[in-house]
């Protein structure tokens, strides 16, 4: 069975979307073609995920959907039925912040902050697959995330710093 086929049989009106968001079961009514971005921000009040361009160019709305990095502005709700979503609000670490978030603070990888949630999620997706990336791999992994403040150097530094910290302290959560 294709996931979600039951829930949307009655097309035409809103659907009841069932999600696992940052480990918590959530339900929200929305139209099937609503953007996951709007479901998160407006339906669930999770405004950490940002809207930049709204056309899949900038990466500000990046989240992990069933563990996979996506632009939430390009995902219709109907394709997220019964999915697990990780947003910036779900990141935690031993000291409160996740090591990636700490590294962004320390390296100066954040200025205005609009791109930061997407950057952190893209970096998290990278580090789960490739715990010890070189600079080229970091830059490739962040190539779909635009930042208009930092010039990227400090963001790349932050990800390298987080990778080193995570390597000494176990796998990323």
């Amino acid at each position: 069975m294709n996931p979600g086929s039951q829930a949307v049989r009655a097309a035409g009106g809103p659907i009841r979307l069932r999600l696992q968001v940052n480990g918590h079961r959530r339900e929200v009514d929305c139209f099937p073609m609503a953007r996951l971005l709007d479901v998160l921000r407006e339906g669930l009040g999770l405004t950490g995920t940002k809207e930049g361009c709204g056309e899949g160019e900038c990466g500000a709305c990046a989240v992990l959907l069933d563990g996979v990095l996506v632009q939430s502005c390009l995902v219709p709700a109907v394709q997220a039925q019964e999915a697990s979503v990780e947003t910036i609000e779900g990141l935690r670490g031993p000291g409160g912040l996740h090591p990636l978030q700490e590294a962004f603070l320390e390296a100066g990888g954040t200025q205005c902050g609009i791109c930061t949630p997407g950057m952190v999620l893209a970096a998290l997706a990278l580090l789960r697959e490739e715990p010890d990336p070189d600079e080229a791999a970091i830059r490739a992994a962040l190539a779909g995330n635009l930042c208009r403040c930092t010039g990227y150097v400090r963001i790349v530094d932050a990800v390298a710093r987080a990778a080193a910290r995570l390597a000494s302290g176990g796998p990323p959560s």
Binding site: N2, G4, G59, A62, L69, V75, G144
Partner: protein
């Protein structure tokens, strides 16, 4: 977000059969929705026609890469990520992997599909020129028929194609290649930047040399005409002949008559003509340098 959401219906069929039945019941009414990386852009811009959308994403019958009697069959829902990461495709059809890696960036590659890239029908799409060089075929399926068509010729004009109401692309078939191991696979995408950009010109070419002459050569371009374009007359100028400078100049002159680039938001006609000519010349220079057997 400028779309009126209640005007869009969407269903998720449980199987390929259910999808085809839905489409057969109301031919031409349902628009298939795969990775959403093109459709959702139009939605947010208020340019997606209201109507009925069928989310075929995740259907196992349209997924997966397999080898079949020397050919390679890619399900229409194969993502760019899957293409990019396939070591087998990297060995046999490397331009397809380069094209997938040049499409968007990680998040787009995780969702966008080969079938979607084809049916979206953009003349600027990144994978079609590679598919043209590799003589790809499409398998099209509806409740009534299954048919196999050459990919070359599938696009009939700007955003129009030989896809009947009720039909889906089931798979893309890449035949076994005959050029041999020494062939040059040349893929270049020219855009504003390496990631995320939509191309100004895409150039794919496949060639091999024998005894100082071009044994076989295929050239295909994107963003230079209303559809992606196989340039057979340009191929004909060099096939069977040595690649001396005069021959290369003639090829460039013929290429110029085969393509019809325009001025638009991404580039100009003049720039596209110049880049297409430069890429052709670079390809032919590199092809000549491979020499090939008997040199």
């Amino acid at each position: 977000m400028r779309a009126y959401l209640p005007a869009y219906h969407a269903e998720v069929p449980g199987s390929l059969r259910a999808a085809l039945e839905t489409m057969a019941r109301e031919p031409g009414v349902w628009t298939p929705l795969a990775g959403g990386t093109d459709i959702m852009v139009l939605l947010a811009a208020g340019r997606l026609p209201p109507g009925k959308y069928l989310s075929i994403r995740g259907l196992p019958e349209l997924s997966g890469i397999r080898e079949e009697q020397g050919a390679v069959v890619l399900g229409a829902l194969t993502t760019y990520r899957e293409v990019r990461r396939s070591a087998m495709l990297g060995r046999r059809y490397p331009m397809l992997c380069l094209a997938a890696a040049a499409s968007g960036a990680a998040a787009i590659q995780n969702r966008g599909t080969l079938g979607g890239n084809i049916v979206n029908g953009s003349p600027a799409a990144d994978t079609p020129p590679a598919l043209l060089c590799y003589d790809a075929e499409l398998e099209l399926i509806s409740m009534a028929t299954v048919r196999r068509v050459p990919y070359d010729g599938f696009h009939t004009g700007y955003k129009t194609m030989d896809l009947r109401p009720g039909e889906l692309v089931r798979s893309v078939r890449l035949p076994a290649r005959a050029e041999g191991a020494g062939a040059l696979h040349y893929y270049r995408k020219v855009g504003t930047r390496s990631a995320q950009a939509i191309s100004k010109v895409v150039f794919a070419a496949l060639g091999s040399m024998e005894g100082g002459r071009v044994r076989a050569c295929r050239i295909a371009l994107g963003s230079v005409a209303p559809t992606v374009l196989r340039c057979r007359r340009t191929e004909g100028v060099v096939t069977g002949l040595p690649l001396d400078p005069a021959r290369r100049r003639e090829a460039a002159a013929v290429l110029r008559t085969e393509i019809a680039p325009i001025d638009d938001i991404r580039s100009t006609r003049a720039y596209r003509e110049r880049v297409a000519r430069n890429l052709l010349d670079d390809f032919l220079a590199r092809l000549a340098a491979t020499g090939g057997p008997g040199d």
